[in-house]
Amino acid sequence: MRITVASGKGGTGKTTVAVNLALACADQQLTQFLDCDVEEPNAHLFLEPRIEQKRSVKKLLPRVDASLCDSCGACAKACEFNAIAVIGGRGLVYDELCHGCGLCTMVCPKGAIEEVPHELGVIESGTARGFAFAHGVLNIGEAMATPVIHDLKTEAKADHLVVIDAPPGTGCPAIAAIHGADLALLVTEPTPFGLHDLTAAVGVARVLEVPVAVVINRDGIGDDRIERYCEDEGIPVLLKIPFDREIASLYAEGKPLVESSEVWRERYRELYRRIREVVS
């Protein structure tokens, strides 16, 4: 089963929920953790994995051989991303706009364009607290997180509970992390910002046809608008985590809650039981 822990709004507690869920289930169930927030991966700070393998994720960037190029402009005309232009008789590639689709090489009548690999980020995998762990890390200055996420998702193991920590937002990286999951577990907070962004995240999960359930974090800091929304929409609220300075300070120091509290370990196991009910 694949559970993607997501949220529209950032900082609602995705990593907290994902990490504690994996830790609470790992001794009862084959478990794997995939940190798909490749722009800002944080789960390793809590799980302290031993990294055993590392590989590069690359995209192919076109390079124009000036001696073969006759400035016909077919590449620039074909490129949907405005990533290649012919200026002053030379083919110029804007690397950060290029999606690496290869269309320019296909349309060049002179065969003047070849592609060179360019590293976008890395995938690191190993074990953490006895279960399988992998995360992707986007290189600084790179714009395209999605290929790193797709590559990371190929690590997903069959017959495991795969807990996926998603990036915030509703754009392509969040879509890539939610796509194909059995459940999107949406973590939110009871505030107007929380509700607005939860609504957007529910919209994404619904177009991707992924069932949703909600965890309310920092319960008590705002009002009851999340619960009213969930009730209206028929979305199950599976767990509420109260706002508590002790919980906040454990988080600050990178200490998973279930490792210091049997009560919370049991609550996260109960969360998993309820997830299984929703998924089946």
């Binding site: 900082g11 722009e39 800002e40 991303f81 200055g141 915030p168 392509c172």
Partner: protein, 287 residues
């Protein structure tokens, strides 16, 4: 034109809280919400729309099954795994590059423009606003961010305003890069947590990669004394000037629930700290 942008790497550290506060404190500015995935600034502003529209930022491949001969060439060239074994096109994986349409020998595939979001310009109780929201399941948030910035610049020009206050997105990827290019200064908002510090290091790398001056605000600074100390030490080592620190204060959330900016509650400890940060910005010429 002078523009400042709030970024954080990690989400939920308080970018919109600060942008909303600067909306109250700064005179003569256009407010810009570049967090098109989760645009929240307008929730504090009571906007009245001046102009709005759909934004067609991307295309998606559409296949005419009556023409398709199931030769499979499209699937061979697609690098985004968007064409399944049954040669159906998954529009959420399709990047709209057109490689499949190019190789299709019978012209069964065409690219169709997609509405990927909506933009708006508005009058608000705290000044003019340009913002946008991505449609559910749509991509190209970077392009939509660029579009919002263009709208904001046009609006500022029309109104004779010389300053943009921009709320950015979390992360370090495409929408962040689209928002950071061309701004005059970035205010990084962090919190004293391991995640906050880790993400601050990465976002600072991005901002410096683009050669933009950066300043730091530590929000919820009293949540962890030890981590706050580590954040200060990191800022010191990195030559990242600290504009100020904001204590954790539930009244910030209470203000948000009431649809107000944190500094409209002028008695709260957080409000006083944010006013100090704003004054530091003015003094140091950040704004």
């Amino acid at each position: 034109m002078r523009s400042i942008l709030f970024l954080s790497g990690k989400g939920g550290t308080g970018k919109t809280t600060l942008a909303g506060a600067f909306a109250v404190l700064a005179q003569d500015k256009v407010l810009v919400d570049c967090d098109v995935d989760a645009a929240n600034l307008h929730l504090l502003l009571d906007p009245t729309v001046i102009d709005e529209g759909a934004y067609e930022g991307s295309k998606t491949a559409i296949k005419n099954d009556d023409l398709c001969t199931a030769c499979g060439k499209c699937r061979e060239v697609c690098r985004f795994h968007a064409i399944g074994e049954d040669l159906s096109i998954d529009s959420y994986l399709c990047e709209g590059c057109g490689a499949c349409a190019h190789v299709c020998p019978v012209g069964a595939i065409t690219l169709r423009p997609q509405v990927s979001g909506r933009w708006m310009t508005a009058k608000t109780r705290l000044g003019p606003l340009a913002s946008a929201e991505l449609d559910p399941g749509e991509e190209t948030s970077g392009k939509l961010v660029m579009h919002v910035k263009q709208r904001a610049n046009a609006l500022a020009e029309e109104l004779g305003i010389e300053r943009l206050v921009i709320d950015g997105a979390p992360g370090i990827g495409c929408p962040v890069i689209a928002s950071v290019t061309g701004v005059d200064a970035v205010i990084l908002v962090t919190e004293p947590t391991l995640s906050g510090l880790h993400d601050l290091e990465r976002i600072l790398g991005v901002v410096r990669h683009f050669g933009i001056p950066a300043h730091l605000v530590i929000n919820k600074a009293d949540l962890s004394t030890a981590l706050a100390e580590r954040v200060r030490a990191f800022a010191e080592e990195s030559g990242l000037p600290i504009l100020g620190e904001i204590p954790f204060d539930r009244r910030v959330t209470e203000a948000m629930v009431a649809g107000r900016s944190a500094v409209e509650d002028d008695e709260s400890a957080a409000s006083k700290a944010i006013v100090g940060i704003f004054e530091a910005c003015v003094e140091k010429g950040v704004l």
